[in-house]
């Protein structure tokens, strides 16, 4: 149907793009993780010292674990918020569906940074929330754990990633043929039973996709901890950033990146298997 020359021509741009902006950087990163730095100079000498350092110093593993905890919390909170939202919109919103859908999506158009600074203003000791709490006489001094804490990071990331979780769940729910719901009722199942036996299982692929988004994107986030995380809210991406920046230890930074990449890849592998297992088309 298409000539060989045409096929080559068409496949060239994506091939170039992937090689230049994906494969090459990853290869460089991988190579760096086996090199070293001495007296501020990069030494191209193959060794495993960086990996040994990672294992020897528990601080890196600690930050990585904290990062995964935060990402897991964000995933959980986004699901808890996003699922009912998607369910309500898909099944019960009637004529307001389009409007509500747009309202859920609108925050995605606002810059990440703007939203980050907004949370700073809300959570700070002089912030809106503390002002309100004091106005209600619930506290006399500003509550300090609100800002610069893992709590703040989870809050901000949940706010940012809930639409990402909402979207695939909403799509999955919209794809459930409505006669299936009627069939379930027809066979004697009430609303709760219909939800648990039909709607929930059929929306699982959407939940898995949404949860993967939230977890992976949170895992690599460095702006939220920078803006609202403080010292106790530092995440692994901040460590990598400082290693590549101020510390000028590219090899160690690359080593951590390789580890994160491995975590993410195995997660994606797992979720893809799960999604296949739970898709029925």
């Amino acid at each position: 149907m298409f000539s060989r020359a045409y096929k080559t021509l068409v496949s060239l741009p994506p091939l170039l793009w992937v090689s230049l902006f994906l494969l090459l950087p990853y290869a460089l990163m991988f190579a760096h993780s086996f090199w070293a730095v001495k007296d501020g100079l990069l030494i191209h000498q193959w060794n495993l010292d960086n990996y040994k350092t990672l294992l020897a110093k528990p601080v890196y593993l600690e930050v990585l674990l904290r990062t995964m905890r935060i990402a897991a919390s964000v995933t959980f909170c986004s699901l808890v918020l996003g699922y009912p939202l998607a369910y309500y919109l898909s099944f019960h919103s009637g004529a307001r569906k389009e409007l509500l859908y747009q309202l859920v999506i609108v925050p995605l158009w606002v810059s990440y940074l703007v939203r980050g600074y907004a949370w700073k203003t809300i959570l700070g000791s002089e912030g809106v929330l503390n002002g309100f709490l004091q106005y209600l006489h619930l506290t006399h001094e500003p509550v300090s754990f609100l800002l610069y804490s893992p709590f703040a990071v989870v809050l901000m990331l949940t706010h940012i990633y809930t639409p990402f979780v909402f979207l695939p769940i909403y799509a999955a729910l919209e794809h459930i043929p409505r006669p299936l719901v009627e069939a379930s009722q027809d066979l004697g199942a009430g609303s709760t039973e219909t939800f648990l036996r039909v709607i929930l299982p059929l929306s699982l692929p959407g939940m898995i996709a949404g949860a993967t988004f939230a977890f992976v994107l949170s895992l690599g986030d460095f702006l939220a901890p920078l803006l609202v995380g403080g010292a106790s809210g530092t995440m692994i991406a901040n460590v990598v950033q400082s290693l590549f920046g101020a510390a000028y230890d590219w090899p160690l930074g690359a080593t951590i990146s390789v580890c994160i990449l491995l975590v993410v890849l195995s997660l994606l592998f797992l979720t893809e298997r799960l999604e296949k297992r739970w898709s029925f088309k």
């Binding site: 043929p177 006669p179 299936l180 009627e182 069939a183 379930s184 009722q185 027809d186 066979l187 004697g188 199942a189 009430g190 039973e193 036996r197 039909v198 299982p201 059929l202 739970w278 029925f280 088309k281």
Partner: protein
């Protein structure tokens, strides 16, 4: 189909009571009146077909009985219970959906077991009844398959088993055969009919296919624009259509518009004696009621006319002719296979076969 699964008492047509009663049921969607005061009784154990064109309201009526819609007016009663006050999951009614609506994430076995599980039936009873139901529709070897792996006909059988395993008092079938190809459709019609006879369950069947309706039903309820046009047995409704619409919708017919004056019916060039008051009339004359007159003779109870043959459509077991009686009057005539015909011929029909119908 194998032995009766539902152990329901055998139904003797003579002692059949009314199972379902529709009392002035109406349904409006906004300003659109989809059903206009439908009153209809369905006898226990009968096969009743709701027949009508798309948009006639037949599916809406089915959905009202299943409980997916609420009537705007009127009441639905079943077995001394006001059905329209109950949510769908409390009605002893099950539905076979148009596109089957099998649960894609469940195996055939789990699909069939669904209704029993949600009603907390004991596990060993579920296993037995599901096996029986699958055997009844000859799907036991597919018990572990997912619905997506099945053909349309097989999905249809599973949908039937899934509904029947609950031993409903009334089974609603929403154009269940419309998605099947012609051969499979004929086969499934036969199976449906014998299944219904064997189980003695009341079937309320919705279709737009008049042939299917006639082949299957004890009674046909013809719907037109949300109102009942005629309710009768298949034979009655074909032989004695009450209205011109019914006559045209069920089978083919010739509608003869004319007038009675002085005990003579005159429709175009055709006229015959008829003892009836003067006035405008419509007759329905089935194509097969007209035949070629071999010898040019006629009985006193027959009408003879000459007509030239315009078109001849060969149909295997019969031939359909379009004949021109003159003065712009055309008739369709169905005759046994005859061989090529042309020119002017004589035809006869019995006066009794010209059925007077309402507008």
């Amino acid at each position: 189909m194998s032995s009766a699964v539902l152990n329901s008492p055998p139904t003797d047509p003579a002692t059949r009571g009314v199972l379902l009663e529709l009392r002035g049921v109406a349904k409006r969607f906004g300003a659109r009146e989809v059903l206009k005061s439908i009153s209809l009784n369905i006898a226990s154990g009968e096969f009743l077909t709701l027949l009508g064109e798309s948009g006639s309201g037949k599916t809406t009526l089915l959905r009202l009985i299943a409980g997916f819609e609420q009537p705007s007016a009127g009441e639905i009663w079943m077995g001394g219970e006001q059905l329209d006050r109950l949510p769908p999951y409390k009605r002893r009614v099950n539905t076979v959906f148009q596109h089957y609506a099998l649960f894609p994430h469940l195996s055939v076995r789990d699909n069939v077991a669904y209704g029993l599980r949600v009603k907390n039936t004991p596990a060993n009873e579920i296993a037995g009844r599901v096996d029986q139901a699958l055997r009844m529709v000859k799907m036991e070897e597919f018990a572990a398959s997912r619905p997506s792996k099945l053909s349309g006909g097989q999905q249809q059988r599973v949908a039937l088993a899934r509904a029947l395993v609950n031993r409903p008092q009334l089974l609603l079938l929403d154009e269940p055969l419309s998605a099947l190809d012609a051969n499979l459709r004929k086969q499934m019609q036969g199976e449906l009919k014998s299944l219904q006879r064997e189980l003695g369950i009341t079937f309320l069947f919705v279709t737009h296919d008049q042939e299917e309706a006639m082949a299957l039903s004890d009674h046909i309820a013809l719907l037109r624009d949300g109102a009942l046009e005629q309710v009768a047995t298949a034979r009655e409704i074909y032989a004695h259509p009450a209205t011109a619409y019914t006559a045209q919708f069920i089978g083919q017919t010739n509608l003869l518009h004319g007038e009675i004056r002085g005990s003579i019916a005159a429709c175009g060039v055709l006229r015959w004696p008829l003892d009836a008051p003067d006035g405008l009339v419509i007759f329905s004359l089935r194509p097969e009621a007209i035949r070629l007159s071999a010898d040019g003779k006629r009985q006193v109870t027959e009408v003879k006319f000459g007509a030239s043959i315009r078109q001849q459509l060969y149909g295997g077991s019969s031939e359909l002719l379009e004949v021109d009686c003159g003065a712009g009057q055309f008739l369709r005539v169905r005759i046994p296979v005859h061989g090529p015909l042309s020119g002017k011929r004589d035809f006869v029909f019995s006066i009794a076969d010209a059925i007077r119908v309402r507008e």
